[in-house]
C-alpha cells in the first residue's frame, strides 16, 4: 500500500511539536537521572554522524567527490569554520571534483 505524503507530514508535525513544547510547558525542573541526561547529550552527535555517512558518498554522482567533501568539511569545521562556510565548501568540492570525475 502506498502511504499518503500529507499523512506522513501530519504525523511528523505532531511528534515534532510535542517534543519541542511538552518540556517547556509541563516540566520546569531539571532532569536528574544521569543516564538519561548523558544519553540525551550524545544523541544529536550520533544521529547526525549516522545520517552523514555513508549517505554523503551516495548522494553525489561520484562517491569519491562525496568522500572528499566529507574530509574537507571535517577539516574546515575543525579549523573553526561555521555552518554556512562548511556547507558551501562541501558543495564546491563536489562541483570541482565531479568536473573531472564525471563526464557531462
Amino acid at each position: 500500500m502506498k502511504h499518503q505524503i500529507w499523512l506522513y507530514l501530519a504525523v511528523m508535525a505532531a511528534v515534532c511539536y510535542a517534543i519541542r513544547v511538552l518540556p517547556l510547558t509541563l516540566l520546569r525542573k531539571r532532569i536528574r537521572n544521569r543516564f538519561l541526561r548523558s544519553f540525551l547529550y550524545y544523541v544529536p552527535y550520533v544521529t547526525l554522524s549516522v545520517m552523514t555517512f555513508p549517505s554523503i558518498i551516495e548522494a553525489t554522482r561520484s562517491p569519491v567527490a562525496g568522500g572528499a567533501a566529507l574530509g574537507f568539511g571535517i577539516l574546515l569545521a575543525w579549523m573553526g569554520a561555521g555552518l554556512f562556510p562548511v556547507a558551501a565548501s562541501c558543495c564546491a568540492v563536489v562541483f570541482v571534483l565531479e568536473w573531472f570525475l564525471v563526464s557531462a
Binding site: 506522513y8 511528523m12 511528534v15 511539536y17 519541542r20 518540556p23 552527535y45 567533501a69
Partner: protein
C-alpha cells in the same frame, strides 16, 4: 499599537540575529528540497515539511521514511529519535523563561526550537524575552520553508552537476554541528567515528533496514553505549549541547 511599541526592540533584535541564520537556512533548505523532490514531494508539501519540521536532520530522516514508503509508526519513531535533542533544549529553555510566562508564550517559543535559534536564544539574558525569539523566527522560518519549496522546484531546472554538488550542503551542515564539540570532547569524536563505521557496516550488511530504521537503531545503541561508558558529569550545562 501600544503592544508593538512595547516589544519592538526585542523583535528587531531577534530579527537582526535571525538574518545570517535565515540565509544559511535558505541554502541548506534548498538542498533538502532536492532530497524531498526525489522522494516524490511537491513544492507545497516541501514547504509544509519544513514549516512544521523546522529541523534539517529530522526532516531529512522524514524524507527517507517517505521515500521508503515505510509505516506511519516508523515516521513517528524516526521523528522522535532524530528530534530528541530538541526535548533537551526545550527543558533548557523552560529554565530560562520567566516562571510566570503565560502558556501561549511557551507554546509559541517551543514551536521553532532549532540548534541555531536555540543557540541565539540562550545567549540572551534570563528571563528570556519571548519576543526576541519571535523576531528571529519571523526571519528564519520563512527562509527555511521557502528554501525547501524552491529546492523542490528548481532542483528540476538545474543541471545534474549542480544538483549533485548542492545535495551535500545538508551533510556539510551536519559536519559543522558535530565537529566543534568533537574537538572539545574526545568521547563525542570517538562516537562520531564509531557512528560512521557502524552506519556504513549496517548499510552494507543489513540492506533490508531502511535509512530511518538504521538511524533509530544505531542512535539508541551507540548513545546508550556512550552514556553507559562515559556518563556526563552532573555539572554539565545544557548549553554544552549547543555549538551553533
Amino acid at each position: 499599537m501600544r503592544f508593538l511599541q512595547e516589544h519592538r526592540r526585542s523583535l528587531r533584535l531577534g530579527a537582526r540575529d535571525g538574518v545570517p541564520i535565515g540565509l544559511g537556512y535558505f541554502a541548506v533548505a534548498f538542498s533538502l528540497g532536492i532530497a524531498a523532490r526525489n522522494a516524490g514531494l511537491t513544492a507545497i508539501q516541501g514547504f509544509f515539511l519544513s514549516f512544521f519540521g523546522m529541523a534539517s536532520a529530522g526532516e531529512y530522516a522524514a524524507i527517507t521514511v517517505i521515500a521508503a514508503n515505510a509505516s506511519y509508526l516508523e515516521m513517528a519513531l524516526v521523528t522522535l529519535i532524530t528530534n530528541a535533542r530538541y526535548l533537551l533544549m526545550s527543558f533548557a529553555l523552560s529554565q530560562r523563561m520567566d516562571p510566570a510566562a503565560p502558556l501561549r508564550h511557551r507554546l509559541f517559543v517551543g514551536y521553532s526550537i532549532t540548534d541555531e535559534l536555540f543557540g541565539i536564544a540562550v545567549a540572551r539574558p534570563v528571563p528570556l524575552d519571548p519576543w526576541y525569539c519571535y523576531g528571529s523566527y519571523l526571519v528564519a522560518i520563512p527562509c527555511w520553508a521557502s528554501g525547501t519549496a524552491v529546492g523542490v522546484i528548481a532542483g528540476n531546472l538545474l543541471p545534474a552537476r549542480v544538483v549533485s554538488a548542492l545535495s551535500v550542503a545538508l551533510f556539510g551542515m551536519f559536519i559543522a554541528v558535530v565537529v566543534p564539540p568533537a574537538k572539545r570532547d574526545k568521547v563525542i569524536g570517538l562516537f562520531a567515528l564509531l557512528s560512521f563505521g557502524a552506519s556504513f557496516a549496517a548499510s552494507r550488511l543489513l540492506p533490508m533496514l531502511s535509512g530511518g530504521t538504521r538511524t533509530i537503531l544505531l542512535t539508541l545503541l551507540l548513545s546508550g553505549l556512550a552514556a553507559t561508558l562515559f556518563p556526563v558529569p552532573d555539572d554539565t550545562e545544557t548549553q554544552k549541547e549547543v555549538d551553533v
